[in-house]
Symmetry: none
DNA sequence: GTGGTCTAGACCACA
DNA sequence: GTGGTCTAGACCACC
């Protein structure tokens, strides 16, 4: 269910958060559903329990989950709420990247074509966390 | 000329590289033009010369500048060449971010509107290095 | 294990890289095996940790190792992959040097005799499972 | 007559020496022939006279030229003498590179074929001083 | 514990 | 003057 790229440069605890967020966004996890325990998940992913704990803690302060001591951790919000929350940052990032696209000489028509193509395609596929792409690009 | 955000998460030497890339893209620096010396720039930015040197070496292996010990450092390519080089990565990044936008529930019309807005605005060197924005990912 | 010539003109961090490449070529280090920590090796070689770190970073951008902050550094490729990668440059260098040999008046028979002599001598620590050596696949 | 690659990593004064050695080896300059004056050559190559002077000084201590104060600098040896002098180092280098070739998995037959090919081709062409070949090879 | 970054100050070769 | 290398010591994020 949860995929961690050990070789990725993004911290494992962030990858875990992203994974759970994705599970919520895709409807695989709903509000008040329980997450696996820290030790369980740590064993399953062969990852240091401290790292899992840090991820859970991070998600809790981010308001994505809530923890009931002695009971476990649970999803704190619905897919829609999560979407609402991500929108401003997603838009901001989109603006930056679009600006860079322009800067780099990509025509507006080409940019719009890309947008159309992506919105037309079926929502599927996890990608990102591109560990060690030879060309260490930025933005 | 060059702006560094000491508090940013992105290393100073990468910020320096981004700054010089921007100067090339905007035409402020042309091929074979000389960069300020390591010590000069270090003093100007109030940054340790070692860090500047690291940035220069980084840019050299990236093929953006070439350094002649005893002579100085010089731009290695034209704005167009730099654009060509950045395009694939910029497009890839754009696709990822657009995908995320869709995922987060932003309508295609809204996305296209953003694109139009950005392409309509006058091209001027805006800087980034968004210190602590939630989306930390770079490569 | 690792030998550094402090008085050599070639930088220490390159010597370290050469040493590790040799260890991979001879089969002493295999893919995904862990390298000594920066501080450990620094103490062992009586060299500043910064220099070791620089060597490791160099090897990482060269694709020879990968580093996971907080976990350690690991060999990124097999002996065969490293051989494949070195072949073109080794051949190019060989051509240059042979050309110079001719230029300097060494007879072809003498050159061929040297080749025979070197290929006849024991190669020292070749590993087994190196399968087909002439393959032209992958990097 | 003399070609300097300003972008090369090998010092200019060494390039100058190599150039003059080549001129001797090819017979373009004979023993006791005069070299251009420091200032003349400096102007011709658009290079700092100090650098030319350093090159001449280097060649003098190497016994390749001799200087008569107030008269100029002159070739000190014949092509054959120069060849004799270069042979040991050329052979040594050849051995190293051949060893590396073997190490990297190139078959002996292939090495011999390269030797034959180079000895068969007409002696021509200056190469080397491979300024900024992306792959900064060693050995 | 690990690697990544930065500072401070030094020495070298090259032009 | 330039860039290249190294040392010493520090702080950080990550596991």
């Amino acid at each position: 269910m949860i995929l961690i790229d050990q070789r990725s440069r993004v911290p494992i605890y962030e990858q875990i958060q992203e994974n759970f967020e994705m599970l919520v966004l895709t409807g695989a996890l709903k509000r008040d559903e329980q997450l696996p325990g820290v030790r369980t998940l740590a064993k399953e992913l062969a990852i240091n329990p401290n790292t899992i704990a840090k991820a859970y803690q991070l998600m809790e302060v981010a308001g994505i989950i809530y923890s009931l001591p002695g009971r476990g951790s649970f999803i704190a919000l619905t897919a829609d709420e999560l979407r609402q929350r991500h929108r401003p940052q997603a838009l901001q990032k989109f603006r930056e990247v679009t600006f860079h696209l322009k800067e780099v000489g990509v025509a507006e028509t080409e940019a719009r074509a890309e947008v159309s193509r992506i919105y037309a395609s079926p929502s599927e596929g996890r990608d990102k966390n591109d560990s060690r792409s030879e060309s260490d690009e930025k933005i």
